[in-house]
Symmetry: C2
DNA sequence: ATATGTTGTGCAAACGATTGCATTCGTAAT
DNA sequence: ATTACGAATGCAATCGTTTGCACAACATAT
């Protein structure tokens, strides 16, 4: 049974204030005699004193907790983000509380509600997107907020993410350079920042190469592997199938791999594949996937730094940071020779 | 700016008690007139009232929070566990706070300290193991506790995990049945429950098959992929290398794959591989890995159920639950023909 | 002798919610 | 007229900390 300052005060014969000052007051403002200090400390230890952070938080109006909200903890990208954020926050003496929204906006709403009720000192959110009224509530509550992985241009909020458009450009341009022109895009959840910006990059790359966009090659509707599986099966059945697929996320790529395996489609011989996200296992897959890597550590460091800044100075100018993505070329893309390209076109007709 | 019960009381002209009862009291014990209820509710909404869980927790001596401690959030096994626990806890109206200990006992200690200071209502811990004094503190604080994934026989604490010995037996027996006898084991962190029990199963399987245990084939010292990589390189260099490797965890297996790829060792042709843990991506690897699957969902459901039981009745008999592992046979194990087997034995002598 | 400091400690008011125990008023039963 | 009761609400203590201010005791300077 945990004892309180009062218990210790009674046992030592000093006041609660004195005990509090000995045990928690780091300022040297109050000079407590060494004798008293000794006594209080030893009694505290003996009685197994443990501070009550609820009482402290209530009194101080500060909890040293940061709320973190992500769409899917089990997604390797986000579990890496969480791990990285945790380390950064710990350095600054903050704890954190994570919520997993399952890419569901209503869960996100209730997560924010809970965190505000807990009086967290700050919030880092990888929002589902789509809708933003609940985000505004955070602003109204004057809780420092940084958005991560998703930067909405139209929201006046600090945010840091990778340059998704550029990432998609890198991926698709790579495919084009290797001779592909029928390139499919398997999307994630439409309406989300990550998806829309990657789609934009995809389209832009095709435009710049003067390849006509075929809407039949833009498919899919969420970031999970089942989506990748089903849409790949669908794409393979088209009368004029793509020679390459660009997937919007790592799990989608896994689903695509499974579909190919089942259909006896060999990557990269029969079909090339590039994906956004580059979790630890991509290089061990069969084949090792060519992928767009995000600078996760840097992203998290910046998010935390921006949050701290905002906590210190609430009316500093807001910033939106875009980090550079990187293309990791591995073995999932085949060079389409002019000949095979022609063969392919011939087959098509 | 969040308002308080007092603010609302003042604005409506009723007492704080009444406001509290209208807004939070689910018992119908106090009959508040419909008129008052209406008024209070509308003012509360208008003023953006948000309950302060610190104050409530302090008063009620109950926080509706469960602390969860795992060794590595980024490990797919644990991120799946967290996701699953989160869902289960949410159903019961509990929130949770996760700590990642990085398999470091001192971080585990401070995590427990923090969680007790936060006055969580219960704790679910996947302990690093090795040492237990800090676990006893939880007992002393009379906080309900369930250990997950790690069941220490000598601790009188509720726990649920997979039957690691049996899992290892399944894995190694499978290798033996396919004709292997020089089977290496790449360990995780020595001294941890997961590691010791898996090692035990490994040894038992060899014993039962009357294969002499070669200590040179038992290597490694943590659950990360680098360990798998380095130890595989080492094993491949032995004058009499193993024909099969059993790895203690998924990340170790990834490292092993990388080492093999670098050395041009083909799996399963040149070397067979079985691993403990079976995350979503194992079947997409090259080759798809034969692996021991743990019933994660069930494990988490049981852990939460046991915790709830313990929270209701603190002196109920304690239980230790062992769940059944499952062997998923894929393509990473080759059958060693009698001939090659004999050749091999000859080589040994 | 008076003023001025310094040192060490305690008082009491917050922080925001909950709840057992009044209290007030009206109505119905005896 | 007295009693009893139910409905609707308020009082005040409590949960455990923090901290501005006050104060006592003593030392030093003028």
């Amino acid at each position: 049974m945990s004892s309180t300052l009062k218990d210790i005060a009674q046992k030592t014969g000093v006041s609660v204030s004195t005990v509090s000052r000995v045990l928690h007051d780091n300022t040297k403002k109050y000079k407590i005699s060494d004798e008293t200090q000794e006594k209080v400390k030893s009694v505290a230890k003996e009685m197994g004193y443990r501070i009550n952070t609820l009482a402290r938080g209530l009194r101080l109006q500060k909890t040293f907790e940061i709320g973190v909200i992500v769409p899917d903890i089990a997604n390797p990208f986000f579990s890496a983000v969480i791990k990285s954020l945790a380390g950064e926050l710990r350095k600054g003496g903050y704890n954190f509380i994570v919520y997993d929204t399952d890419e569901d906006i209503s869960i996100e709403r209730s997560a924010i509600k809970s965190l505000l009720e807990k009086r967290v000192d700050g919030l880092i959110i990888a929002s589902v997107g789509q809708e933003f009224s609940h985000i505004h509530k955070v602003r109204e509550a004057k809780i420092p907020l940084v958005m991560i992985d998703r930067c909405f241009d139209f929201l006046d909020i600090d945010s840091v993410s990778v340059d998704n458009v550029k990432g998609a450009l890198l991926a698709v341009n790579h495919l084009i350079k290797e001779g592909h022109s029928r390139i499919a895009f398997i999307q994630g959840l439409p309406g989300t920042y990550a998806n829309e910006t990657r789609l934009q990059g995809y389209k832009q790359a095709l435009d710049e190469a003067e390849i006509k966009i075929d809407e039949h090659l833009i498919v899919g509707d969420d970031f999970r592997s089942l989506n990748g599986y089903l849409e790949t099966k669908h794409l393979l059945k088209l009368t004029s199938p793509p020679t390459a697929i660009f997937t919007a996320g790592d799990l989608i790529a896994l689903g695509a791999l499974e579909a190919c395996r089942e259909n006896g489609v060999s990557i990269p011989k029969d079909l090339s594949l590039v994906t956004f996200d580059d979790p630890v296992f991509t290089s061990y897959l069969s084949p090792a996937l060519t992928a767009i890597e995000q600078p996760i550590t840097k992203m998290c460091e910046m998010a935390v730094a921006m949050l701290y800044r905002r906590m210190r100075n609430s009316d500093d100018e807001r910033r939106k940071v875009l980090l550079e993505p990187k293309l990791n070329v591995r073995n999932s893309v085949a060079r389409l020779s002019a000949l095979s390209n022609i063969t392919h076109i011939t087959k098509k007709q």
